[in-house]
C-alpha cells in the first residue's frame, strides 16, 4: 500500500521481550509503524499481543529491547502521552464512574495544553461532535451510556491529546456486531482525516483486514508472519496464519482443512 510506504517512521520496536516471572510473554518482537499507516497485531490468547500493546504505551516496561519514537521531542510520561494513546477493550470501566464524559474529556486537555476554560470546553464539544456524541451525552455520567457510546467517548478523549499514534487493544471486541461496525467506520474515517497511525490489536482477522494496512501475526510471544495485510491474508506463508484464516467461520466452511492445518502445525513443532 502506497500510504504505508511513503510516510516517515513514527514508531520502531526492536527486539521487544517481556518476561513475567519465568514465563516469556513476548519474545523478540520487532516492527515499525509509518505515519498514517495502520498496523494489525493478530493472535490468539497467550500470543503476547496485548503485552506488546502495553509496552508501546509504557504500561509495561520491556525486559529487553526498545520502543522508539523517531523524531519525537517530548520525554517522560507526559511526553509519551503526546505521542501515543490507547483504547482498551472494556468500554464499561474506561471512565472514572464519578465524573461526566465531558469532564473526563477536559481533564487531559488541562494537563497538556495551557488553554483557557472556554477554549477547553469548545474543544470538548468539538471532540464529542467528531465521534458522534451529543452535548447531552457529554454531560452524562459514564454508566448512563451504552458500550458503543462509551467507546466513542474513549476515542474522543484520546484524540483530544492529538497523539501521533493510537493503540487499540481489542477495542471493538466487546461490542455488538452492529455497534462494532459503527466504531470501525468511525476509526477508519479518523485515520483518513487526521493522518494518525494505528496499532490495532485484535483476534478478528476480518476486522483487521478492514482497518489495517500492515499486519504482524503473533503466536506464543513471537512474530510468525509480517507483511502488508492484503498480501498476508491472500497468500499466507506460515502454516499458523493459514490455520487462523481457515478457522474463520463462513458458508461452505471446510472444517477438515482446519484439522489438517492443526496437524501440520503440530508436526512442525515436533520437527523443529
Amino acid at each position: 500500500m502506497s500510504d504505508s510506504q511513503n510516510g516517515e517512521t513514527v514508531l520502531r520496536a526492536t527486539g521487544l521481550s517481556k518476561l513475567f516471572k519465568s514465563t516469556v510473554a513476548v519474545d523478540d518482537v520487532s516492527f515499525s509503524l509509518k505515519r498514517g499507516s495502520s498496523l494489525g497485531v493478530v493472535g490468539e490468547s497467550g500470543s503476547g499481543k496485548s503485552t506488546t500493546a502495553r509496552m508501546i504505551v509504557g504500561l509495561e516496561s520491556p525486559s529487553s529491547g526498545s520502543v522508539e519514537f523517531p523524531g519525537a521531542t517530548g520525554s517522560g510520561r507526559r511526553g509519551r502521552a503526546r505521542l501515543v494513546q490507547m483504547i482498551f477493550q472494556d468500554p464499561f470501566h474506561s471512565f472514572d464512574p464519578r465524573i461526566t464524559i465531558a469532564e473526563a474529556l477536559e481533564e487531559p486537555l488541562r494537563l497538556h495544553f495551557d488553554w483557557s476554560r472556554e477554549r477547553r470546553q469548545a474543544r470538548v464539544a468539538e471532540l464529542l461532535d467528531q465521534v458522534g456524541l451529543s452535548t447531552r451525552q457529554g454531560g452524562a455520567l459514564p454508566r448512563t451510556l451504552s458500550g458503543g457510546q462509551r467507546q466513542r467517548a474513549a476515542i474522543a478523549r484520546a484524540l483530544g491529546i492529538e497523539p501521533a499514534i493510537l493503540v487499540l487493544d481489542e477495542a471493538v471486541a466487546a461490542l455488538d456486531v452492529s455497534i462494532q461496525a459503527q466504531v470501525l467506520v468511525l476509526l477508519d474515517n479518523i485515520r483518513r482525516d487526521t493522518g494518525m497511525s494505528y496499532v490495532f490489536v485484535s483476534h478478528d482477522l476480518a476486522v483487521v483486514r478492514y482497518i489495517t494496512t500492515d499486519v504482524i501475526v503473533m503466536r506464543s510471544g513471537r512474530v510468525v508472519e509480517a507483511g502488508q495485510t492484503e498480501q498476508v491474508l491472500a497468500d499466507p506463508q506460515h502454516p499458523y496464519t493459514r490455520l487462523l484464516l481457515d478457522s474463520v467461520p463462513r458458508p461452505g466452511w471446510d472444517l477438515d482443512r482446519v484439522r489438517r492445518g492443526r496437524l501440520e502445525l503440530d508436526s512442525m513443532k515436533e520437527t523443529s
Binding site: V177, I179, Q182, L205, S247, P251, R259
Partner: protein
C-alpha cells in the same frame, strides 16, 4: 394459556425435539412488568441444527433456556414450549427434572465456570446420569466412552483430574461430553464457542457437528455470530428485541436476507475474502423488547421504515426463500 402436558410415549416418539410456539415472557422488576419475549415461535427437527442469532437484548438466551424450564425469576410465561413431546410451560417440578435428566441438555458459554472447580471431572461427567439413577460403574463407563469420542487422551485418567488442569478448548469438549452423556434428543448450545479462540472454536464446532450427525439429535445453536451460524446450521432464526424477525434456510438467509435488520447485520461484518467493501452499519444500538418502540421494534434504526411500521407488529410471512416479519421486505437490496 397453558397447554396440558402431553406425556404419552407414542407422542414422544413422533414429536420434534423442540417446538416453541407463541412464547411470551414478562418479568416483574421492582414492581414493573418488563416484557422479554413476544410470541416467539421456532422448531428444531430431529437431526437438525438451528441457529438462533441476535445481539444483546434480543432474547435469544431466554428463548433457549425456556426449553429446559429455566425461566427468569418472577416471570409470567404464555405460549407453548414442547420438548420431545413434553410441554414445559406449566410442567410440574418432577416433570422438569425428568425432562432435564433424559431429554434435553445445555452447553453454556464459559466452560471454566460451567464445571465445579473443586470436584473431579468424573463427578461432572456422570452427574447427569447419576441424577437419573444410573449406577456408578455404568455411568463411569459411559463417561469414559464419551471422553474418548470428544478426543480426550487417556480418558480414565482424565476422570480423576480437575478442571483447571485442562485448557478452555479441552474443557469445552468435556462439557460437551457431559451434555451428551444422557443421550438427549435436544442439545441447546448457548454461545458455546464464543469464549474460545478462533482455531479452538473451529475444532469444537467440528466436533459438535460430527457428534450431532452421529446421534441424530436436534440442536439449537445460539450465537451472536451470523457467519458462524450460516457456516454450521441448517436453518437460522434471527431475533431482534424479543421477537423473531426472520427465519429460513441458512444459505438463503446468508445469500438473500429479506429483513432490513438481517441485511444490516451482514453489512456490519467486515469480509475476509473478496473486495474490501465499505461497511454499512446499522444506526443506533440494539434494543431490548421493553425499550422498543410500538409497532416494528426495528423501525427507528431501519433505513426503509415508513409510517405504517409504527402501527402494528409485523407478522412472519413468506417472502422469497425466507419468512420475514417486515411489511416491505427485500426493498433494501441496494444498500
Amino acid at each position: 394459556m397453558m397447554s396440558t402436558a402431553t406425556n404419552s410415549s407414542a407422542a414422544a416418539a413422533a414429536a420434534a425435539p423442540l417446538e416453541i410456539s407463541g412464547l411470551s415472557i414478562t418479568v416483574q422488576v421492582d414492581g414493573e412488568s418488563r416484557p422479554l419475549l413476544d410470541k416467539v415461535s421456532l422448531s428444531v427437527a430431529k437431526g437438525e441444527i438451528v441457529g438462533l442469532v441476535g445481539e444483546s437484548g434480543s432474547g435469544k438466551s431466554v428463548t433457549s433456556r425456556s426449553a429446559l424450564g429455566l425461566f427468569p425469576g418472577h416471570a409470567i410465561t404464555t405460549g407453548s414450549v414442547v420438548v420431545d413431546g413434553v410441554e414445559v410451560i406449566g410442567a410440574s417440578a418432577a416433570q422438569l427434572l425428568e425432562l432435564r435428566r433424559t431429554r434435553a441438555s445445555m452447553i453454556f458459554q464459559d466452560p471454566r465456570s460451567s464445571v465445579n472447580p473443586v470436584r473431579r471431572l468424573g463427578d461432572f461427567l456422570t452427574e447427569g446420569l447419576r441424577a437419573r439413577g444410573v449406577g456408578r460403574a455404568e455411568a463411569n463407563r459411559t463417561a469414559i466412552g464419551l471422553l474418548e469420542e470428544v478426543g480426550i487422551r487417556d480418558p480414565a485418567r482424565a476422570m480423576r483430574r480437575f478442571p483447571h488442569e485442562f485448557s478452555g478448548g479441552m474443557l469445552q469438549r468435556i462439557v460437551i461430553a457431559g451434555a451428551l452423556s444422557i443421550g438427549p434428543r435436544l442439545v441447546l448450545a448457548d454461545e458455546a464457542t464464543t469464549a474460545l479462540d478462533v482455531t479452538t472454536q473451529a475444532e469444537v464446532v467440528a466436533l459438535l457437528k460430527r457428534l450431532q450427525a452421529e446421534s441424530g439429535t436436534g440442536m439449537l445453536f445460539v450465537t451472536h455470530d451470523l457467519e458462524l451460524a450460516a457456516a454450521l446450521c441448517d436453518r437460522i432464526v434471527v431475533m431482534y428485541a424479543g421477537r423473531v424477525v426472520e427465519t429460513g434456510a441458512a444459505s438463503a438467509i446468508f445469500a438473500e436476507p429479506q429483513h432490513p435488520y438481517t441485511v444490516g447485520l451482514l453489512g456490519s461484518n467486515p469480509r475476509l475474502t473478496g473486495e474490501r467493501a465499505t461497511l454499512t452499519p446499522i444506526v443506533g444500538r440494539p434494543l431490548a423488547l421493553a425499550e422498543a418502540p410500538a409497532g416494528c421494534a426495528f423501525r427507528d434504526r431501519c433505513p426503509i421504515a415508513v409510517p405504517a411500521c409504527a402501527t402494528e407488529v409485523p407478522a412472519l410471512r413468506p417472502s422469497r426463500a425466507t419468512e420475514v416479519a417486515c411489511i416491505m421486505p427485500g426493498d433494501e437490496k441496494a444498500a
